[in-house]
Amino acid sequence: MKKFINKIDDIVTEVIEGLVLANPEILSNIPDSKVITRKSINKNKVALISGGGSGHEPAHAGFVGTGMLDAAVFGEIFTSPGPDRIYDAIKTVVGKPGGLILVKNYTGDVMNFEIAADMAKDEGINLETVIINDDIALENSTSTTGKRGIIGTIFVHKIAGAAAEAGLNLQEVKRIAQKAIDNIASFGVSLSGCTVPASGKPGLIVPDGEMEVGLGIHGEPGLHREKQKTADESAEIIMQHIDQYLNLKKGDEVGLIVNGLGGTPMMELNILARKAIKILQAKEIKIIKSFVGNYMTAIDMVGFSFSVIKLDAELKKFLKAKVVTTAMVGME
């Protein structure tokens, strides 16, 4: 394992410190808790809280700011945060209009956010929760924990964040977040596993010439392994899965994320984006907004995922709305 770290135990604390020191105009942190909040907290709007294990940077703290999240809660690497930190975040950012908790569908995240929300609700805090499960490599079935929450989460943060920023009430923000979730499909492939610092070795070995198809964001194995394909062939395989799931038709409007998993250079992501966009254009599908970069990573995993959201007028408006965070800026 070759990494620029100090002590394994200090990684999360130092990540938080670095983020806040580097972006003091946008971010702040709760002392003695592993939570990043907006620099200036506005308790007169619905607050959005998300988070999960560390190791997915820039998610989730990179999406804290105007038009997106109010707080991001950090767990240890790939480990859901305990309920105490989530509770700290809720208490700090949620005002009278209430708060929406955005949870990726992993057992630990669902449990810890639920415990924290129950603690806060007992004190009369108005909270709602949505569970993000955009990974179409997995079916919703009774024999598993169900579809994972992966990169499509960023669309939900963006759209629900804009709705909250526009002053909509909690039930409306929740409805819009759920509508976004219902219209997202994501799918990933990788050429390597990733090295969790505490274990010191890659969790998954993908031999030369092969690729792992349909995997998540923790270096866990995917659906199956196959012979490595070119960028264009890989993009085609993934787009086919997504197209089939969303049933895209000529004239549809979509948002697209081409997401790096941490170990894939921007050069390759742009090559993949080029093909993804051409595939959509060939079907006469209109791309309202595309994002290419590292948005939700798996430490140093070599791989990428595509995520597509099918938009209606409402989702489109909020996807395009102004945003100021460290990992996503601009628009409109």
Binding site: Y106, G108, G203
Partner: protein, 198 residues
């Protein structure tokens, strides 16, 4: 009864086998289950001064909150739930009373995690262990805990052939077969520590 010394024994046992637990987790998850468990129990031991004089019902709740906070993941809330309900039902130190409280703790964990027997989780070691306690309340204390330990150990071994249906390992489907569940193995180590310490 010095409960913190029991927690210390559990910590030692988990720490001794930390690499094994991480390796088991690496096979079906991300490889840090041992590290997380040790971090949690270490935090309890580190807080000894604040905990040592508390009544069991309060003590177990405090332990639960520390474990939930420090272990995180899914193991934290599950083990935390176990300890909270252990505290709620703890009436005394007879075998019958211990078996009753452990049973209540295990049922609450199972309910919260929504896991059934055979789904390759902690439940597959914990439930047989607490059943063994309940069925052996007439044995002397050491033999009573030995029955719990043996049942947990066998329960953990049996997870090797199961397909995971809960938690992150469930994403692997049939590919999860062939590895002992790290959570079940942790439970087996905890019961081993209890057996050794009584």
């Amino acid at each position: 009864m010095n409960y913190i010394s029991v927690i210390k024994k559990i910590l030692d046992k988990l720490d001794e086998h930390k690499s094994l637990l991480n390796d088991l987790d690496q096979a079906i998850g991300d490889g840090d289950h041992g590290t997380n468990m040790v971090r949690g129990f270490q935090a309890v031991v580190d807080d000894e001064q604040n905990l040592k004089d508390l009544e069991p019902s309060v003590l177990f709740k405090k332990i639960a909150l520390i474990l939930m906070s420090k272990i995180g993941g899914s193991s934290g809330p599950l083990i935390g739930t176990f300890f909270i309900n252990l505290g709620k039902t703890w009436t005394g130190l007879s075998q019958t009373e211990i078996a009753h409280a452990f049973h209540a703790g295990a049922m609450s964990l199972q309910q919260f995690g929504k896991a059934e027997l055979g789904e390759k989780t902690m439940v597959d070691a914990l439930n047989p262990a607490v059943d063994a306690l309940s069925n052996n309340v007439n044995l002397p204390m050491k033999a009573f805990f030995e029955q719990g330990y043996l049942a947990a150990k066998i329960g953990a071994i049996n997870t090797k052939e199961m397909v995971a249906k809960k938690g992150r390992a469930s994403y692997l489907g049939p590919r999860s077969v062939g590895h002992v569940d790290p959570g079940a193995q942790s439970i087996a180590f905890i019961f081993e520590a209890l057996y050794e310490v009584v």
